[in-house]
Point group: C2
Chain length 187, copies 2
Amino acid sequence: MKEKIIEVSIDLFGHNGFTETSIQDIVEELGVTKGTFYYYFKSKEELLMEIHLRYIDELLQNQDEVFIKNTKSEQKLYDIVYMIMKHIEGHGQSARVFFREMQHLNEEHLKDIFKKRDLFRQNLNKVIQEGIDTGEFRQDLNVEIVALAILGAVNWSYHWFDPKGKLDEKAVSTIYIDFMLNGLKAT
Amino acid sequence: MKEKIIEVSIDLFGHNGFTETSIQDIVEELGVTKGTFYYYFKSKEELLMEIHLRYIDELLQNQDEVFIKNTKSEQKLYDIVYMIMKHIEGHGQSARVFFREMQHLNEEHLKDIFKKRDLFRQNLNKVIQEGIDTGEFRQDLNVEIVALAILGAVNWSYHWFDPKGKLDEKAVSTIYIDFMLNGLKAT
């Protein structure tokens, strides 16, 4: 039941917004009582935090797996980009809730989520720095800003990426990575 | 007064969210009556549309100016990236309201805004296509996906860009453009 509550809530929050969705809406959608909801969650905010935690924890775990495979920086970068795209493909509404509804978390929860997001970003910094150190990447890169540009480009996909569209998440990732590695300029 | 209502509302919507902000909150902040609000706007939604229109219309107008100057594609791309960053620098809360609160527009208004956003994106497509045609840019680029990656990277900045930070909007734009033109890879 906990899983079902989360699933239905992601859908309702994604479509109608967190504030616009009441606990009543959630339990009605599931055909259960409010008591059932409160058995699993103290409040709507606690449920939102659970959604946020699952989103970022899964990404961090996947990122760990990328790091364990001892490959070139280029491949690590591809793996990270593809992993985020794959996540957006499979959890489009989660991404919407994650990025758009964050302001509704309480201060303490927000701090926890920011810490985890920062960790994800710093891991990407490390990949870029490593690529610079091994000579795979250019020596004059601004690691932090480039990492933010990469994360921005990929995260932004949740605004437009359509899993039923012409290009799947693999094709989009491949185009992204080619662009990020080689740039626009003719050589 | 209309300008003041818009200014205060952007601030309140940006900080507290559109749904969480009542017309009462807006008029209280300004020390005026609800009558004053309704003299200028039929509803909170109409006010939100005005904020959206101003945001995208200003960007489109600035984009036109970039196109009038007959420069190389590389320079046009820089001008567009810098213009968005400059906009985020000057109107950080507007950007937040523009991207996050769009779902609160009614269907007709949403269609109008999407049309204008599409136009902005297609203009960027044109810049990239033009660069390919003149041989400035690589021949094998996927114009649409690359344009989305660029817009994503730049738009995403509203999440993290701090006008009081170490790097101003010009410095960030310069790093972005270098990354977009030349990529990460050492040559």
